[in-house]
């Protein structure tokens, strides 16, 4: 994509947002970060941040928000 296309994408606010589900495999960095296996992947994404309202536990099924190239865990699916 050229710069024009790239900037137009951003100008038009075309950043992509997705919801994926995942499993918490670890809590790291003094429980401020998580490792999450997303959409059944065998490799976990590490260093993921989460909303303050969520108290993570390993093996939680969580809702992950992907915003363009970023990921945040919103909370546990109960």
């Amino acid at each position: 994509m050229d710069i024009g296309g790239l900037l137009n994408k951003v100008v038009l606010n075309n950043q992509k947002t997705f919801i994926h589900y995942g499993v918490v495999t670890a809590r790291t960095s003094g429980n401020t970060r998580l490792s999450v296996q997303v959409s059944g992947a065998t490799t976990a994404i590490t260093g993921v941040r989460y909303l303050a309202s969520y108290s993570p536990t390993v093996a939680d099924i969580v809702v992950c928000l992907f915003y363009d190239n970023d990921i945040i865990v919103l909370g546990e699916l109960v």
Partner: protein, 382 residues
């Protein structure tokens, strides 16, 4: 510009014998030489895949032997590559070839005619290998230098890739790619590089390289195209448009890995510029949001580099000329034409390099004005 000999430089603007060749390679093994009748190599900064080629082989009694019977034949489009060259044969019989790219064969057209079998081969540079290998699951690009992070990303999709990246002194944050299945990893890599002010592409030797976007202050003029005796220009068009002109970049850095959101504004504050922010053109900002960077200094640098690429785009100069295959996109050249009132240095945006001796080189350029450090007018956090 590809480095050439003094003899080549002396001969390129004068009458000379044009030579061109193409070779078929499988990985690092040369399989075949092809006899080119005509064709071209197109190079552009406006596509993520920078180089493409189309070559027509000489039609004679032997051409039919090259027609692929199955997917493993030499010119079948299943992995074999073309290396294309154009050059000069000097009066003493010596030759100097300029490489025009390494292309993965993507398409073969065979036509059976009265005069024989005609074969046209199309190819795209090696970025197509990365581009076709779409993300099959999420990929985590960990925090690190831009060059290390991009190397790891590209090797994930193209393990045999050869890279030659400079030390960028840019640290990029962790990001996640491939959340949307089927996304093109090469596009992702090019976007990441562009967002922080770098150009990512495969060069004429098939090596993946990264360079800062060109600015006239740091560049030297590599070729001169001046009207008058000895001119090599055959025609010139000039188009002045503000369709894609911005005179400000609002650069925002925010994301889960960014400690504090950052906002940078860079504007054209040169009172002598036609796109001066407070002139009659007015303020025309564009906006970039990324989670790649972490510091104001990095964001200022990236925003300034992006403004450099946009601020001069009010004017496009297109010309045809005698072919110099050593030219490349992003080369800085000097063009002078009295009729079109052109007398300036420009940057090449795209060009078509013909492989036959009758066709002209077609070049599109843009005018660029350099943004000074005093034009960073607002730095702060939101």
């Amino acid at each position: 510009m590809y480095p050439t000999s003094g003899d080549y430089r002396a001969a390129i603007g004068l009458d000379h014998k044009v030579i061109a060749k193409a070779e078929v390679w499988s990985s690092e093994r040369k399989l075949l030489d092809l006899d080119i009748d005509k064709g071209k190599v197109s190079v552009t900064t406006s596509n993520a895949i920078r180089r493409s080629c189309e070559i027509n082989l000489v039609t004679d009694r032997t051409t039919a032997n090259l027609v692929p019977e199955d997917g493993f034949d030499y010119i079948a489009p299943f992995g074999n590559q073309l290396r294309v060259y154009r050059g000069i044969e000097f009066a003493d019989g010596t030759e100097e070839y300029i490489p025009l790219g390494v292309f993965v064969i993507t398409e073969v057209l065979v036509q059976d005619k009265n005069e024989g079998v005609s074969i046209t081969i199309k190819g795209e540079d090696k970025s197509i290998i990365c581009s076709r290998n779409k993300w099959t699951s999420t990929y985590q690009m960990v925090t690190g230098t831009l060059e290390a992070s991009l190397t790891a990303l590209l090797q994930n999709r193209f393990p045999d890739i050869e890279v030659n990246f400079p030390t960028t002194n840019v640290t990029v944050n962790q990001i996640i790619l491939g959340a949307d299945s089927g996304v093109d990893p090469w596009n992702d890599a090019v976007e990441i590089a562009q967002l922080v002010g770098f150009d990512l592409f495969f060069d004429v030797n098939g090596v993946c390289v990264m360079k800062q976007f060109p600015t006239l202050d740091a560049s030297t003029v590599v070729a001169t195209y001046e009207e008058g005796n000895g001119t090599t220009i055959t025609s010139l068009d000039r188009n002045i448009s503000t369709k894609e002109t911005y005179n400000g970049v609002i650069y925002t850095v925010e994301g889960s890995q960014v400690t504090t959101p950052i906002r940078i504004e860079v504007w054209d504050e040169d009172t002598s510029s036609p796109t001066y922010r407070f002139g009659i053109f007015g303020s025309v900002p564009t906006f970039v949001t990324t989670n790649l960077l972490s510091t104001s200094a990095e964001a200022i640098k990236a925003a300034t580099l992006l403004l450099n690429t946009y601020i001069g785009q009010q004017e496009v100069i297109t010309f045809n000329s005698i072919v110099d295959p050593s030219l490349d996109v992003n080369d800085v050249i000097y063009v002078k034409s009295t009729g079109a009132r052109v007398d300036r240095t420009v940057i090449i945006d795209s060009m078509d390099i013909p492989l036959d001796y009758t066709s002209a080189l077609s070049v599109n350029t843009r005018v660029v004005r350099v943004v000074g450090s005093n034009e960073v007018v607002e730095i702060g956090t939101v």
